[in-house]
């Protein structure tokens, strides 16, 4: 039986004492989910741009598909990924199962529908005249698309944030493809999987401590993003990579 009061006190003691084991798990969670989001942004943003800015047959079906995927039970996605990554699976040759790589890819795939769906509606809500406006001021098609993307930047940031929140709080997929390994070469225990295991082995103090830290991490990141957004730093920051993307596209064109 859990002694709620006693375990909560223990949890705070663990946090305040700066227990290295706990903070290693927290930083691992941040690292895995951070990389997962970057991966998802790299493929999710172009998909969102394509869906929102191009007119093609079956556009509504594709949008509905991504919206539906948001609600896909994570155990189902976990199972699909597990089977794909397992030795006999189509991606078995990569040897990713129960490695940090599998967790990152799993989280990235999990959040892609969120990133795409919110991204598409953010881009679609931009004044349709912006595209023509950029073009009449001399922009090429890709430069005009970048102009539209900049107008949608707040919605895009929101989709990135929602995706990060979803990724760092994910249990099912992470557990199925990453296992819950501590020690050895492949340490895959993250905050959520650790909490699940700690509860099973009645380590409630540790579970509560990680739970509190998970909430603090989420809250802090959200507050930072809100502050940066107000100060417009993210918009300025976003210009760097977009400008590079623009240049590489021009070079190709």
């Amino acid at each position: 039986m859990a002694d709620i009061f006693g375990d909560t006190v223990k949890a705070f003691q663990l946090i305040l004492s700066g227990d290295p084991g706990i903070f290693e798990i927290v930083s691992r969670s941040l690292l895995f989910s951070g990389i997962a989001i970057i991966l998802a942004i790299l493929w999710g943003t172009p998909i969102a741009m394509l869906i929102a800015m191009k007119e093609f047959r079956g556009k509504t079906i594709i949008k509905t598909f991504f919206n539906t995927l948001i609600g896909l039970p994570t155990v189902v996605l976990g199972l699909i990924l597990f089977l794909s990554f397992s030795r006999g699976g189509p991606l078995g040759f990569l040897g990713l199962l129960y490695t940090p790589g599998a967790i990152m890819i799993g989280q990235a795939i999990l959040v892609t529908p969120i990133l795409v769906s919110i991204g598409v509606s953010a881009i679609e809500s931009v004044d349709p005249e912006i595209m023509s406006l950029a073009q009449t001021l001399g922009a090429s098609e890709s430069q005009a698309q970048i102009a539209v993307l900049k107008e949608a930047i707040n919605g895009i940031i929101l989709s990135d944030l929602a995706s990060f929140n979803r990724a760092i709080g994910e249990l099912g997929v992470v557990l199925m493809v990453g296992g819950n390994l501590e020690g050895g070469g492949n340490q895959t225990t993250v905050m959520t999987t650790s909490i699940a295991r700690d509860v099973q082995i009645s380590e409630f103090g540790l579970a509560i401590a990680l739970g509190i830290l998970l909430v603090i991490v989420l809250f802090t990141i959200n507050v930072i993003v809100v502050i940066l957004r107000r100060a417009n730093y993210l918009v300025e920051l976003a210009k760097g990579p977009y400008a590079k993307l623009k240049r590489s596209r021009e070079a190709k064109g």
Binding site: E129, I130, S132, L133, L137, G138, A139, Q143, E151, V235
Partner: protein
């Protein structure tokens, strides 16, 4: 005479709907040409084709002597820019809005800063660089949009109803800018408008548009001279009326515009006449005012519209008149919809076409 752009039998259709029907139009270097016509007559479509952001369905477009391939218009788009009727600004500072096209053209920062400053001076918005563009008033936003196009110094400048929905102060500033840019930079300007007075005042030539066709083209005096009696309904603009004029014993004329409304004008006219009264020249009062003004009518306020610093009212005296008053007068007079008011204007302030 050099031709900047030319439309040869240009047609545009959206599905089965034809919006431009075999239009031929030559735009000469250094001229201001006004496309005059009612809404839906194809003016905006011509501008979009000349801005190379809309493909014609048929016909040929020549730009600076060369036939334009609409599959790739990136080069031509750098030479022609359009200011939309609906003011659209990027959600950033005034500076970034105006500098956008210069950045695309890789203009160095020092030159960019200088050009933005000059463009802002021209539209009388000096010092607005750091302001958030979308937080400006409607008139100021439209002036930023014009400055953003002017700074590019493209050989062809296209303006779609540049002063629509602007109060007289902002409209006046823009008209001055259009005139200056044409005179000093020799910029060729194509301007769509449904305001014939603006077309007459600013342009060297007027092309009349109706239902996707160009019906007339020529110098303003020539076009207005040829025009049929329903000019006013053709180019609908506030306070423009068609009527039948009769010379009075006093040497002035009275124009009967129908519904019992007769407007006295100083010019001697007989027969079909179109008249225009500038909304600013009309005095609004709650009781009849004794004055030397020859035209006084009683009516009701049927519409109230908020402009930047002014309030635009529609007063129905049998025919609807547009009157503009300051916000302060509006609140001091305690006006509201359906309120009974008098409008008064001088015979000499009536413009006769």
């Amino acid at each position: 005479m050099t031709v900047t752009a030319e439309l040869k039998a240009v047609t545009k259709a959206y599905g089965t709907k034809i919006v431009l029907d075999a239009v031929n139009l030559q735009i000469r270097e250094g001229e201001i040409i006004a496309l005059l016509g009612p809404n839906g007559s194809g003016k905006t479509t011509i501008l979009k084709i000349l801005a190379f952001i809309e493909n014609p369905t048929g016909g040929e477009v020549l730009f600076q002597g060369k036939s334009v391939n609409f599959n790739n218009t990136e080069k031509e788009r750098l030479q022609s820019t359009l200011v939309f009727q609906k003011t659209t600004l990027f959600g950033t500072s005034v500076y970034n809005n105006i500098a956008y096209g210069l950045k695309l053209r890789k203009v160095p920062k020092e030159i960019r800063d200088r050009e933005v400053k000059k463009a802002l001076e021209l539209v009388k918005l000096s010092g607005f660089e750091k302001r958030s563009a979308r937080k400006l008033s409607g008139g100021e936003q439209q002036r930023v949009a014009i400055a953003r196009a002017l700074v590019l110094k493209t050989p062809l400048l296209l303006l779609d109803e540049p002063t629509a929905n602007l109060d007289p102060k902002n409209a006046g500033i823009l008209e001055e800018v259009i005139d200056t840019v044409n005179r000093e930079n020799k910029t060729t300007i194509v301007m769509a408008t449904h305001n014939m007075f603006q077309a007459k005042k600013l342009s060297h030539r007027i092309a009349l548009m109706d239902e996707g066709k160009k019906t007339e083209i020529g110098a303003p005096a020539e076009v207005f001279g040829k025009l049929s009696k329903n000019l006013a309904s053709f180019a609908a603009v506030d306070n423009t009326f068609n009527g039948i004029a009769k010379v009075t014993a006093a040497g002035t004329s009275k124009v009967d515009i129908g519904k019992g409304v007769q407007i006295e004008v100083t010019a001697q006219r007989q027969g079909d006449t179109a008249v225009f009264i500038n909304p600013q020249d009309i005095i609004l009062s709650k009781t009849a005012v004794e004055s030397s003004a020859r035209n006084t009518f009683k009516g009701k306020i049927t519409e109230i519209k908020d402009l930047d610093l002014l309030v635009k009212l529609e007063v129905n005296v049998g025919k609807p008149f547009t009157v503009q008053i300051t916000k302060q007068s509006f609140s001091e007079m305690g006006l509201c919809l359906n309120a009974e008011v008098f409008i008064t204007f001088k015979a000499s302030s009536v413009q006769v076409l």
